[in-house]
């Protein structure tokens, strides 16, 4: 007869434990979110991250050990990124018709994301490494970390800001735009992709394939444009 402690020690060494916990908690959070009528603050990514963080702190589990199991989920981000081409190809006709509005919205949105973070952050007393690390927070993690490194920020701090921005956008983006009277799925999806990258795109796909397609497009384009704009902004403001 094994004691509970022995079983726990055994399980803790298995990647299966944290993999199962992640999928299970996310599933649970999704059910709660749906039952609550998709209330923004109950966003499943937000709530499951908080729940797992509490669980890790409570059990004294280091993040590396958690990630040994959870990495199997993260790995799927690669194939999922490739898969974004499918809904986008289905929207080729719309894309062709809207290329000019899209280009302008991308440019204005990209610059707004960078400059609003700079202005508000500086006004609230953020400076130095903290402030520059925040500038690329609206683009997907690998690109944002590269930009941060290049402008003297801390790539790991940037990764945190990127994730938090994504969660904020995913939680309140769609209900906010809807409240302001914007109903078009193309505009909603595109805005989510520019403002909150992949996590926003994930939320857009829950809305519709159409919103998801344009969100994925916006995420890719904004990643490329932000990589060009931020060094210029940093140089202009002497950061």
């Amino acid at each position: 007869m094994h004691s509970i402690a022995e079983i726990w020690v055994y399980l803790e060494e298995q990647p299966l434990l944290w993999l199962t916990v992640t999928v299970g908690i996310f599933w649970l959070c999704q059910q709660i979110y749906r039952m609550a009528g998709e209330f923004p603050l109950l966003n499943p990514v937000l709530v499951s991250v908080i729940a797992i963080v509490i669980l890790l702190l409570a059990t004294g589990t280091p993040y590396d050990e958690y990630f040994d199991g959870a990495q199997f989920i993260s790995f799927l981000l690669g194939p999922a990124t490739v898969a974004l081409a499918v809904p986008l190809a289905a929207e080729a006709a719309t894309l062709k018709r809207l290329w000019l509005p899209i280009t302008i919205a991308l440019s204005v949105g990209s610059l707004t994301a960078i400059l609003s973070a700079l202005a508000i952050g500086a006004a609230l007393g953020l400076h130095g490494e903290m402030l520059v690390s925040m500038l690329p927070k609206s683009v997907t993690t690998p690109i944002a970390m590269g930009i941060s490194d290049q402008i003297g920020g801390s790539p790991s701090l940037t990764a945190v800001f990127v994730i938090l921005t994504g969660i904020v956008g995913a939680a309140i983006g769609i209900p906010l735009l809807k409240a302001l009277g914007l109903r078009d799925p193309v505009a909603k999806g595109f805005a989510l992709g520019v403002g909150s990258h992949g996590i926003g795109t994930a939320r857009a796909f829950e809305h519709s394939d159409r919103a998801g397609a344009f969100s994925g497009l916006a995420m890719g384009l904004n990643g490329a444009l932000t990589a060009i704009l931020i060094p210029i902004v940093v140089w202009l403001f002497g950061l």
Binding site: L100, P101, A117, D184, L192, G220
Partner: protein, 117 residues
């Protein structure tokens, strides 16, 4: 389904190899996506089975970000001192960027292209 997953992995692999040898500042999967996009436009239609698999994957995209999100735990101490200023900046900037982008695109769209999805 297996064929679709294999195709996605092969495209990601090709993308990663291209990045490795050209040193372009993009993630490998993004190159894989561009290749797939070009192929689907050339082919004209997406095979049904492939569409079903990719749709299932993309509908559950949110789950895939949870492990990275939990990574924030590693930096709780680094951001603890300035958490109020950081939170306000992140939330306000995300909201402003989303609202501005959404409305710029909406206003520039030809009226006929708008829908009430």
């Amino acid at each position: 389904m297996i064929a679709s997953i294999a195709a996605l992995l092969v495209l990601q692999l090709i993308g990663t190899i291209i990045i490795r040898f050209t040193g372009l500042p993009f993630p490998g999967p993004v190159v894989g996506m561009l290749l797939l996009f070009a192929y689907l436009l050339w082919r004209g239609a997406t095979p049904t089975a492939f569409e079903a698999t990719t749709r299932a994957l993309l509908r559950n995209l949110a789950l895939l970000f949870v492990p990275a999100g939990v990574g924030v735990v590693t930096y709780l101490k680094a951001v603890a001192d300035q958490w109020v200023a950081l939170s306000i900046t992140l939330i306000a900037s995300a909201v402003i960027a989303i609202v501005v982008t959404g409305f710029v695109l909406h206003l520039l769209m030809p009226r006929a292209a708008r829908s009430r999805g």
